[in-house]
Assembly symmetry: C2
Homo-oligomer: 80 residues x 2
């Protein structure tokens, strides 16, 4: 089973990478870009086939290791 | 309109961050984790409301700046 964990900086937390991306895109002529934020995408390959159990475990992984909840939020998508 | 760009290292490209994540999760007792890969998630805030045009423009942004297609693949999701 695959789990995708999407980790983004919280609203209000400084995101210099996102700012640099928006600035560079504007500079290339993409003036429709009003803002950008950069986060992380982590794909996990999991053994086991129970999606409920997998989701619970991935939540625990996020809280223990993957996301810093003071400054980041996370979302989880399970696949197959 | 929001666009989410998901950028992952291609299969076969070394991904030391992903390896470190899998190793750390295994070490924390999450032995069901068989592998991990880390990529980037970029959220773009776009003016304009035509989703077809937005998708075309975001593809162009990926090819010109956001993704290095030699070593990375990208996917685009549009929202609202």
């Amino acid at each position: 089973m695959k789990a995708h964990v999407l980790i983004m900086p919280r609203e209000g937390v400084l995101d210099p990478q996102g700012k640099a991306i928006a600035h560079a895109l504007n500079g290339l002529g993409f003036t429709q870009v009003e803002g950008a934020r950069q986060g992380k995408l982590i794909e996990l390959e999991l053994s086991g086939s129970d999606p409920e159990a997998a989701r619970r475990e991935v939540v625990e992984m996020c809280e223990k290791l993957l996301a810093n909840q003071v400054i980041e939020t996370y979302r989880i998508h399970l696949e197959g």
